[in-house]
Point group: C2
DNA sequence: CGTGGGGTTGATTCTTATCAATTCGGGTGG
DNA sequence: CCACCCGAATTGATAAGAATCAACCCCACG
């Protein structure tokens, strides 16, 4: 495991709060069992017991739900540092499929370990609470995106979201999803994604080649997509009125 | 405050776990400052400081987001026992409006009180975690509903969701939303809601009069809407591997 | 060389939005 | 008690956006 890989969750969590060594050690425990997945491989399937969660170390994965008649909705995209399955703790079984989109390294860990963490480091419990709240904020933006924006706005919004979430400073983003996948994430057909890409290119907002999208004017793209700047910023009343570090 | 009102959050939480008297007392603290709101009144506005949360004691409220050009998306519906604003703890400010739809009684309480609760009763912290995860599950179903279902399926699904969430045994549900509101919740136009209602009536799935919808055949409506039966059931690996009650 | 998956393009259809007119029903004031 | 008003619901006509279907291209891979 490379240094970069090892620090995935920790670096996510540090967005919220500085961690002490004991806390960092606990988080490392969740990443001690790396497994590799090939593109398209199921990491966990709908209906399986949800007694394990996963941390993503590298690659892209998604959560998806397939309706009985074959319609599909991509619910979430996961990149390194994300935890897969947090919301599934309310039920005994996963309610969606989790699928690797590229080569993925992820670490399964038992749900019970999370309990362990909560007890040994209450502050980390608070942080997981924040993580869950942040995921909700992302889902809410997704609802608005799918519900009330045009195809071009949706795609633009997704690109901005990816750009912000992956925290690169570069405007050239590696975006390895097929257009079918993008369509299922934005509730559009793959054909329409193709046309919509072209419209964004024609407007001079982006440039596209192979799996790389270049954002030509981030500010304009943000305005065009209706992206809410404050969202994804972590700037909380919660993390700062905080408890002392681990006893 | 009536008995029924007083027990709102507590009865929500008991779905997950039996509570001890100390825990119940702590939860009551969150409901000690009831306020009344008229239909259409803002309970909290987008942009305001999110240092307070609200518990709903009676009535219907919603979370909504209005885009700069006037398009609106209803994000959530709140009924008694729900906590408003939990996901907003990641930012300093509310990112959506919270609006009373009927006459509403709700109790604002400071975010700091929640911290208090977490420290004094770690088990309640776990439960709030579950509540947040459950809200996520609801949002996910909403995404699927809006993203991949037809108008009729969406409306049917919403009716089933209301039926399940309000936990009545009756199939006659009080449903005081205007069709414009329903449209903004399902990402459809109010005109189309009207037509879609008729189609559901014509198919013999429901009957409608004033603000009351009668579900004629719940099983059929569930099948028709694609409602996922397991969702909203609380049946967790999490709550049951649980810590001892409050020290 | 084939083969197959992903992407592009064009033609057509379907669903839903939009616009406009009308009705219904509940509340208000004379 | 009635006339009026207003917001919500309904109905009809039309338009827009996206889906679907089908053909074709491109290219990586065996």
């Amino acid at each position: 495991m490379s240094d970069e890989e090892e620090s995935c969750i920790v670096s996510q969590f540090r967005q919220f709060l500085e961690l002490d060594p004991g806390e960092i050690e606990l988080l490392y425990q969740l990443e001690k069992d790396p497994r590799s997945y090939s593109p398209d491989e199921l990491i966990a399937a709908s209906g399986q017991s949800s007694d394990h969660l996963f941390t993503v170390l590298s690659g892209w994965a998604c959560a998806e739900r397939i309706l009985p008649d074959g319609r599909r909705q991509v619910l979430d995209l996961f990149t390194p540092g994300h935890i897969i399955g947090l919301r599934e703790i309310i039920s005994h079984h996963y309610t969606s499929d989790f699928r690797a989109l590229t080569d993925v390294v992820a670490c399964p860990f038992p749900l019970a370990d999370l309990h362990e963490v909560f007890e040994q480091a209450p502050r980390l419990g608070d942080l997981f609470f924040l993580v869950l709240a942040r995921e909700q904020a992302i889902l809410v933006e997704r609802i608005i995106n799918i519900g009330r924006r045009t195809a071009a706005e949706r795609l633009a919004h997704l690109l901005v979201e990816i750009r912000v979430r992956t925290q690169t400073t570069s405007n050239r983003i590696e975006f390895p999803l097929t257009q079918t996948m993008i369509g299922d994430a934005l509730s559009l057909s793959s054909v329409h994604i193709s046309r919509t890409y072209q419209r964004l290119c024609d407007r001079g907002l982006i440039k596209k080649r192979d799996g790389v999208v270049e954002i030509l004017d981030l500010e304009e793209l943000i305005d065009y997509s209706g992206f809410e700047r404050s969202y994804l910023e972590i700037n909380s009343n919660w993390a700062h009125t905080t408890r002392p570090a681990t006893a």
